[in-house]
Every structure is written in C-alpha cells, then in structure tokens.
C-alpha cells in the first residue's frame, strides 16, 4: 500500500544570530511566519485538507513548548480541524518531521502534511534544562565529552588525523564563498519568507536575508580564531555552525494528491534511514545512516548526484566525504554552502537541506538522485534519499 511521497514546496525564515536579529521575536512567531509564507506560496492547497502539522524543536518549553506543532497550527490561523504535534530528534528534528509525515503518507493515512522545525537558540541556549541521568557517567555509558557537541567534533579530529584544522578551515571558507555566490545569484533568497523582527531598542524591521554569513572571511582570519573546546584544539567558531534562530516548513504530499492539484513536485522521496554511532563521535552519524539508506534504495554512492550535508562542524562533513571518497571541494556537495555560513537553528535545519536540494534538482536535470543528511547529538545520523522529478536522463 506504499504511495510515493513528494516535497511540493519548502521555505524558511531568514536565519539570525542568537541574541541579535530575532532577540525580540518569539520562536512560535518564527514558525508561524514560515507556515503562513508556505501556504501563501501554495494557494492551490486548501488549508482544510492538511492532515497534520509536525513541527520539531530541540527544546520544547516556553515559546517552543505547549505542543509547538498544534500551537503553530492554531497561531497560523489554520482551521481548528487541522491537528498538530511536536517532534524532537535534536538537530534532525525537521528531517524527522519530514520522514514521519512521509511514513504516514506512504501508508495512506495522510495526503497532505506540513513538516518543519524551529529553534530559537537565543531564547533556548543549548543544554537548557537538561538533567542527564547520573548513570551515563557512573556506568560509563558515555564519556563527559559526548554531551558537549564541540568536544565530539574535537574527538572526530582525533579519530581521523588526516582531517587537519587547516582542511576544516578551508572547508569552512568554501562554505562561506559558496553561500556568498548563491546569494549573488539570487538562489537562496528564493525560499526565504520575509519575517518581521522587533528589537525594542532599534524598532521593527523585516528580515529578508540571513544574518550569520561572513562573505569576507579569509583563511588567515579563520586560522586566528580561538579553539573554545580545548586548548590547542581544532574546532573554532569559524569552522562550525553558530548559535542561531530560525524556522523552516515544508509541504509534504502524496504524489498522486500533488498531481491531482496540479502542483509542481520539487523532490520525490526514495527512502530514508537513521542510524546510531558512539555518542563521543556523534558527527560521524551520517556515514552509517547513509550506508543504510543506500542499501535500502538499492543504490550506491556513485548514483548520488547532489549532497546536502548539514555542516554542524567542518570536521564532521569531512569525515563523511572522506569515508565515501569524495573530495573536500566536490561541487556536488552543498553547492550553495551550508550551516557554517547560514547558520544552524538546530531542529529547523533538516528542511533547509531539503529546500536547497530541491533548488539543486531544478538546476541539474541531469542528476537523478540526491541526499540530505545530518549528524545528531548523542550519536546518530539521518539520511533521506531523494529523486529529482526534473530528471531528464543522462549520467
């Protein structure tokens, strides 16, 4: 009874630096803006027909609490009849929101769903309210390192000595340059929903671009940054994603429903997989999850023409590329840059990968398959394999 699941559209708010652009804006207002912007772009979708609204947040309290999925649906002005729920898989929240509603669509329970995520890391600093079970350390289930993401990135450098700080910095620089070029070409702006942002001291503004990118970055500047996670370390604020605020939302549908409504299909889901690794090297998660997903799809890594890999840390992307024998600057990987440049509001990032991939599919009809993948705290990876609906044959 499995049905084809497609992405019809995906959008996001511009991302901000924590404590800056959206310091006076609520997290729920961000996700509401993304949802309203998404539906405004897709007037053929009758809000009444939305079967569910799955919204992810890594911290589910305050303005990200109250069942953020249902709350966002109500605040967005969706009919009362449209339900909603919350998703948490830390950084892979939105990615999991998409796979979860996709499962529901594939088995025929849903036709139309909204999946997305929000993270206001200014309002909810990482680690807010966590209460790790003392058994973790007492029984050595994980080492202390595993709970601080920066340390897990340093651990990856230890594990893969060929990935040097210089390589990580160069990767980071490239991400900034690719993002700058994509902005120049007007690619990124296409999926940004202008978002009102208030600062009590400065007044209202409307954000139309991401705040985090540093297009002027140089290798020298990156080399000079401190390594906050350990003395003499390799992970710096320059080769890692920052602390950010933002929201994303995707319209996920049964392919037959999208065709019936005459909607454009942006990406067709092939399969997906999540997999675990040692929590101490959580950044390595995309490797096993991608191996698993490829196996399910009956594809090999050579079949993949576009990669959207979340850049929590440069080292973590490089460990993935190295495993699969892909060059650090392979043009198939993150062609418009990644989280190191635009930011990583944790649970929202999954849909950002998807919307970037969809733009890549549009630009590359010769590509048949692409993947979106990301690492997840406490040692996991998640991968979705997508088929390009624009594929016209070729390699």
């Amino acid at each position: 009874m499995s049905r084809s699941v497609v992405i019809v559209d995906a959008v996001r708010t511009p991302f901000g630096k924590a404590g800056s652009l959206y310091a006076g804006t609520r997290a729920d207002d961000l996700i509401v803006r993304a949802i309203r912007g998404l539906l405004e772009r897709n007037p053929k979708v009758d809000p009444k027909t939305i079967d569910d609204v799955a919204i992810a947040a890594a911290t589910q309290s305050g303005d990200q609490g109250m069942n953020i999925g249902r709350s966002a649906a109500l605040l967005s002005g969706l009919p009362n009849s449209v339900p909603g729920y919350s998703i948490d898989r830390w950084c892979a929240g939105a990615l999991t929101a998409v796979t979860t509603v996709a499962g529901s669509i594939a088995m025929g329970a849903y036709d139309v769903a909204i999946a997305g995520g929000v993270e206001h890391m200014g309002n909810h600093p990482m680690g807010e309210g966590v209460d790790p079970n003392p058994r973790y350390l007492a029984e050595k289930i994980v080492t202390t390192d595993a709970l601080a993401m920066g340390n897990t990135a340093e651990n990856l450098h230890d594990r893969f000595p060929t990935i040097t700080k210089e390589r990580a910095d160069r990767y980071a620089l490239n991400s900034q340059l690719k993002t700058a070029a994509a902005y120049e070409a007007g690619i990124i702006q296409k999926d940004l929903i202008p978002t009102a942002a208030r600062n009590p001291e400065l007044g209202w503004s409307v954000a139309t671009v991401d705040e985090p990118p540093r297009p002027g970055t140089t290798m020298e500047a990156l080399a000079a940054l401190k390594t906050p996670f350990r003395p003499g370390g390799r992970v710096t604020p320059g080769n890692a994603a920052g602390l950010n605020d933002g929201a994303t939302a995707a319209l996920v549908m049964a392919e037959e429903k999208a065709l019936e409504l005459g909607l454009t299909i942006k990406a067709r889901m092939v399969t997906f997989a999540f997999a675990g690794v040692e929590p101490e090297i959580m950044g390595y998660g995309p490797v096993p999850s991608t191996i698993k997903a490829l196996a399910k799809a009956g594809l090999s890594i050579e079949d993949i023409g576009l990669f959207e890999v979340n850049e929590a840390f440069a080292v973590q992307v490089l460990s993935f590329l190295e495993y699969f024998g892909i060059a650090d600057d392979d043009p198939r990987v993150n062609p418009v840059g990644g989280a190191i440049a635009v930011g990583h509001p944790l649970a929202s990032s999954g849909v950002r990968l998807i919307l970037n991939l969809a733009r890549g599919f549009e630009a590359h009809p010769e590509v048949r398959y692409g993947i979106t993948t990301m690492c997840i705290g406490l040692g996991m990876g998640g991968t979705i394999i997508w088929e390009n609906p624009n594929f016209k044959g070729g390699k």
Binding site: P200, L202, G203
Partner: protein, 701 residues
C-alpha cells in the same frame, strides 16, 4: 521646522514615545530601493500606550528628518506591539495656563505630523494596533494606510470636549467625504466614544488595506512595495463638490444637540465648523483653524471639567473609595434573588451572566417565579440569536437559574438580594424571615432606591450582613452601583458586595445609608424644583426647557417619562418624609399617577414630541409663574445646596464621589464634570454655601 517647547509647571513628566528608524530592503517585495521604517515605542508594555507630548513630537520630528535623509524610496511609520499610538498626552493638558502654550502644542503637532504628507517621498502608516486621536491623525497625514484586522481606531476628541486638532478635522473629510467624516468625528465620538473596527475603517475608506496581525508588518511592506512599483493604484476621490455636505453637517449637529439635550456645546460645534471648512479650504487654512479651536477649547472650563471627568471615570472604575480589602470578602457560590418581577429578573440575569453561579429566584407563587426564570432564559436566547453569546454558554447559564415559591431555597445562598415592592414594613418582614433560612454570614442586600437600609435591618440578629446595593435602570447598561453601608454593616459584608460589584463590571461608590443615596437624592431634589415651579404657575414648557442650555441629556419631564411618574412620586414622598419639606410633593404628579398618565410628551402624527394633552389637563395652575432663568437658578442652587448637605452629612467622602455618581448613574455629561465643576464655574456653589466644591484648577482653568 518644529521647535521644542517647555511644558508648564506641575505637569507630570512626559512618558516619551521614541521614534526609531530602520531600513527595509524592498527587493524581496518586488520593488526597488529601501523603505525607512519609523517605530513608535515608549519602551513600556501595551498597558501604557504610545502618546504624543512635546518631547515625543520632537522625537518623531527627528526620526522623520533621519528617515527622509536616508537613501530610501519611501518612509513608513508603525507602532509597538498591540499599540500604534493613543493620541496626545492628555496628562499635561490640564496644566496649561496660557493660551499661547496650548496654541504652541497644537502647532507643534501639526508641524511634525504634516511633514508626513509633504516629504517628497511616499509615506505609509502601518497601523498595527490601537490608533486613537493623534495616533490616527499620524496615519491621516501619511499618503497611505494599512491597518491590523484586530486594531481599533477612532477620533474620540469630541467625546472628550476637544476636536481632532492635529489634522483630523481637516484631513478626514477631504479623504472620505462629509458623511463618513461626520460619522467618525461626530456620531461615533458622541456615542460614548464608539471606536471603529478594522473592517469598518476599511469600508469607510479611513485605511487602504487591512491585514491579519500574524504577519501584518510583512504584508504592509508588501502593500507599500505594490504601491511603489505601480502594481497597486490607490485612487482618491475629490469630495469638494459632494452633494452631501449640508445633510452630513445637519446630521452631526442633530447628534450633538441630542446628546446634550439641546444645549449648544463648544466642542461639537467647533468640530462641525472645521469639517464644514474642509469642503474647500487648503490644508494650511484647515490646520490653522484647528490650532485656534484647540487653543480655545483647551483654555475653557468645559474641557477642564471633561478631562477631570474622564480621569475620574478611569480611576473610579478600578478603585472603590473606602472599600475594605477584597480579601475580606467571602466566597459567593450561590445567589438568591427575592422577587421575580422585571427589576428582579434583570438583576438575576446580570448576576447570572457575570457570576455564573447557581441563582434562585422566588416570588409569592410558582407561576410568578417561573415567569421570572423564563424571562431570564428568554434574554439568554436573544443573546444567542444576536450572536453575542454561544449556545453552550446560554445552555450552561439556563441550567443555573431556577425559581421557587418557597424561600427555603435560599438556605445555602451566600448572597441574597431583594427587589420586592418599595415598602419598608414588607422588607423588614422579609429580612427577618430570610435570617431564619440563610446562614449568619450570608450577605443580605437590598436594591431599594430610597428607603433606609438600616431600618430594614432593625430587629435582625445579624444586621451587620445587610447592605444596600442600588442599581440603575437598565441595570445591564448603567455602569453605576451605589453600595450603601448602614452603621452596622461590617467589612466582610462590604468587601463581599464590592467583590460582586467588580464581577458585574460596575463602578461603585460607597455611600452612607442616607435616603436616596446620591443619584436619586440629587435628581429628585432637582426635579422637585421644576415641578414646583410648574405647580406655582410657570408654563410647563418654560419649566421643562429652563435647563436646556446646561447640557443635560434629557429634560426633567423627559426623565419622568423614562422612570415613570409613579416611581418618581414614590421616591419624592419617601425623601419628603425622611429629609424634610424641601422635597415637595407635586400635586400635578399626584394627579398624573392617580389618573395613570405616564408621560408629559407624546408623539404627534408626524412623529414629533408634543406636550401630552392628558398631562396638561391635570396640571396644577398656580399664580406665581417664574421666568426660565429663575427656574434654572433655583434648580441649580438646589443641586448645590443638596450636594453640600450630602458632603456635610458624610453621605459620600468627597465631591468626586458625587460627580462620578451623576456621570455614571444619571448620564450627566463630562463637560459638566458630572455636576459640581459646573456649579463651581457658574458661581452657584459659592452663592449657595460660600465655597466651591473643587479647588480652582482641579476641574476648571
């Protein structure tokens, strides 16, 4: 260029509304260039709206200069969350001592606001929340306006005794035409400051577009971009040759005369003149005329009285003078209403809607009790029909109200109020019976209008739980509640009663248990002078019209028609017995009641009110007629005399309590300050008792 001005001595420190400027890139909205957005924000939450005093105006002036000087294609202005701006900072107005100061503040507002209309770049007001008076005028000066769908707007100046004097009286008629401008500036303001809902503001043309609050700013920027890139063309009509000018102005004038019972009141008259001028004047001429009108009105006693009354109403709504701590009040989970007549049923409905507790009504037989319950349920059904209550809410409340012929149903009540026939012996008997049924803590309240509450509690074993709870007709609408304490009423009882009054959303005045309390005592004394004059031989129309110029909402005989001669006479008789012969019993009134003639006026065939021949025939015809002026003076003097006596007797603790009673219980207008500021400024207070009620400056220049 705007020049800074210094506020007068004694004026409270201005809460400055800052004006912050940021730029928004219009490219994502399909227009070229940038928009400078000015945010009005006084740094406080929505409970303290943005307002404009001199410093705020200078801040806006600086922001406009800043915005206009930037490399932008347009300038827009918006507010802080939920609030655009609530208009001029009224707190300083009462401290202006020189006409020049008043003129200067009017001019300063014009000088700053009008820059928004003459900037050389398109200007937009994104009215994201409440916009009143000067707040809306900021929008009217701008070239285009968007409005949040939940925001209320309006020009309440005429309601306050002012005119929309920062451009509104000139700009609005030119923008939306005479009929609609009269609706907003005159009719709405005079209808107790009715504000515009967003859909009405859009329909009237006050704004160009309405957007939901969730993405109001984004949509407003989109709107601006669509105007700037030419895809959205907003057309403005020219109303200078509109055929409706005369009829619109006549409608406005009629509304003002009706509101003030035929009196010529400055504020509405000046507003009408300004609206009329807007037919053909230039903006500069209009604004200059507004400045003059504003200065004249600001430096007038009626405006000062009006501001006093406005502040008094705000203050008294929150704080009940002399009320014990609310925590002393007892929980009220079940309420009894003795009687099931119309008054009792109205009380039951009001209590039911607000307290949402079980309510039992009793009457002498089950049929009457059932009739009362049925009336209440019928009213609930009407509310559902008018979509003012959900079916579920009505169902819930309908189940809570029951009726019985057996007073034992009051056994578990925490609060019982009686509204039976106004006769002391009956009520005394009732209270003694009730005491045997209810607990010793149960509050027993009476809605008597003129009998002694203390006398009702005589002989009771727990007289400390008896209190007067006097509503005004119609009880659902009239905002005043007189709470009368006897010498024995304890604090727990008073606190319980006041807590209930708060739930009923009434403004309360605690009075001593004195005959007629405040409103009926003053009204009856006043009426007595009119009927007296008539009985002495003054023609009825002369007597009745003698006070037209004051501004009372209705003439004395219109008032009698409303309350009914029977009730009026009954109260007069009670006060005559308890307060003395200055409360006279009019033989005319006695005859009217005896013959069942209810009104002094009837509608003739053309629908006009004319003297009722049946009433005229019954009038006492004395041989000592008075002139209108004599009638006016004796009536006003009687008010001053009675008010002074009430203060001396300690019926209420301050003159302000008397004013709030007359404002909210009798509907007397704010321009009179209730009544005492008017008696002060007419010299009547001093003539009667050698002293004013309010020190000069409190409710006067």
């Amino acid at each position: 260029m705007a020049t800074e001005m210094i506020m007068p001595e004694g004026a409270p420190e201005e809460v400055v509304t800052n004006a912050l400027v940021r730029e928004i890139d219009l490219a994502p909205f399909s227009a070229n260039g940038k928009l400078a957005l000015i945010t009005l924000d006084n740094g406080q939450d929505h409970n303290r709206p943005n307002t404009f005093g001199p410093k705020s105006l200078m801040a806006l002036d600086a922001a406009i200069t800043d915005a206009a000087g930037r490399d932008v294609v347009a300038v827009a202005i918006t507010g802080k969350p939920f609030i655009f701006a609530a208009g001029a900072d009224l707190s300083a107005l009462a401290f202006l001592t020189e006409r020049e100061q008043s003129l200067a503040i009017g001019k300063l507002g014009h000088d700053v606001f009008r820059r928004l209309g003459t900037l050389g770049k398109p200007t937009f007001a994104f009215i994201n929340g409440l916009a009143l008076g000067g707040g809306l005028e900021v929008g009217l000066h701008s070239n285009y306006r968007t409005l949040a769908s939940t925001a209320l707007t309006g020009l309440p100046e005429v309601f306050l005794g002012l005119i929309p004097g920062w451009g509104g009286a000139t700009l609005l008629p030119k923008l939306i035409g005479p009929e609609r401008a009269v609706q907003v500036i005159m009719l709405n303001a005079l209808a107790n400051n009715t504000m515009l809902k967003a859909k009405d503001a859009l329909k009237l043309g006050v704004v160009d577009a309405v957007y939901e609050p969730a993405d109001f700013l984004e949509k407003s920027v989109q709107f601006a971009a669509s105007v700037l890139n030419g895809s959205n063309k907003i057309e403005r009509a020219d109303y200078s040759n509109d055929p409706a000018w005369e009829s619109a102005l006549a409608t406005g004038r009629a509304a003002a005369l009706k509101k003030y019972g035929g009196a010529e009141i400055d504020a509405p008259n000046r507003a009408l003149t300004l609206i009329a001028s807007a037919k053909s004047n230039s903006l500069s001429e209009g604004f200059d005329a507004e400045d003059q009108a504003l200065a004249d009105l600001t430096m007038s006693d009626p405006l000062r009285a009006s501001l006093y009354a406005f502040n008094l109403i705000q203050k008294k709504r929150k704080k009940v003078e002399g009320a014990p701590k609310p925590a002393l009040g007892r929980k009220v989970a079940r309420v009894g209403v003795v009687g099931a007549g119309l008054m009792a049923s109205q009380l039951a409905l009001l209590l039911l809607r607000n307290l949402k507790t079980p309510i039992v009504m009793t009457d002498i037989d089950q049929e009457r009790a059932d009739k009362g319950v049925a009336w209440v349920r019928g009213e609930l059904a009407k509310l559902v029909e008018k979509k003012r209550m959900s079916e579920e809410a009505a169902r819930r409340l309908s189940l809570l109200i029951t009726g019985s012929a057996d007073q034992q149903v009051f056994a578990n009540c925490d609060f019982v109020i009686e509204a039976i026939f106004e006769e002391l012996a009956l009520k005394q008997d009732l209270f003694k019976k009730l005491e045997k049924i209810v607990s010793p803590e149960c509050v027993i309240a009476t809605n008597t209008s003129s009998l002694s509450v203390e006398a009702m509690s005589e002989g009771m074993s727990n007289p400390e739980r008896v209190i007067g709870f006097h509503f005004f007709n119609p009880v659902a609408i009239m905002p005043l509640l007189e709470v009368a304490r006897t010498s024995k009423t304890d604090d727990a009882t008073t606190a319980t009663a006041v807590n209930i009054g708060k739930e009923l959303k009434k403004t309360m005045v605690i009075t001593k248990d004195a005959p007629g309390f405040v409103v009926n005592r003053l009204l009856t004394r006043f009426m007595g002078e009119i009927t007296d004059a008539m009985d002495e031989g003054t023609p009825a129309d002369v007597a009745d019209n003698a006070l037209r110029s004051v501004g009372f909402p209705m003439s004395p005989f219109e008032l009698v028609g409303l309350v009914g001669p029977g009730v009026a006479l009954h109260v007069a008789e009670t006060l005559n017995k308890n307060l003395g012969p200055r409360y006279r019993i009019s033989p005319t009134m006695q005859r009217l009641v005896k013959e069942g003639v209810r009104t002094f006026y009837v509608k003739d065939d053309s629908g006009k009110f004319v003297p009722n021949p049946a009433a005229v025939a019954l009038m006492e015809k004395g041989d000592k007629p008075s002139s209108a002026e004599e009638v006016r003076m004796r009536a006003l003097k009687a008010l001053a005399e009675e008010a002074r006596m009430m203060l001396d007797e300690g019926v209420v603790s301050t003159p302000a309590e008397i004013d709030i009673c007359m404002l909210l219980g009798a509907g007397w207008p704010m321009v009179l300050g209730g009544i005492l500021p008017y008696l002060d400024r007419e010299g009547i207070s001093e003539a009667v008792s050698g002293q004013r009620f309010h020190p000069a400056g409190v409710a006067s220049l």
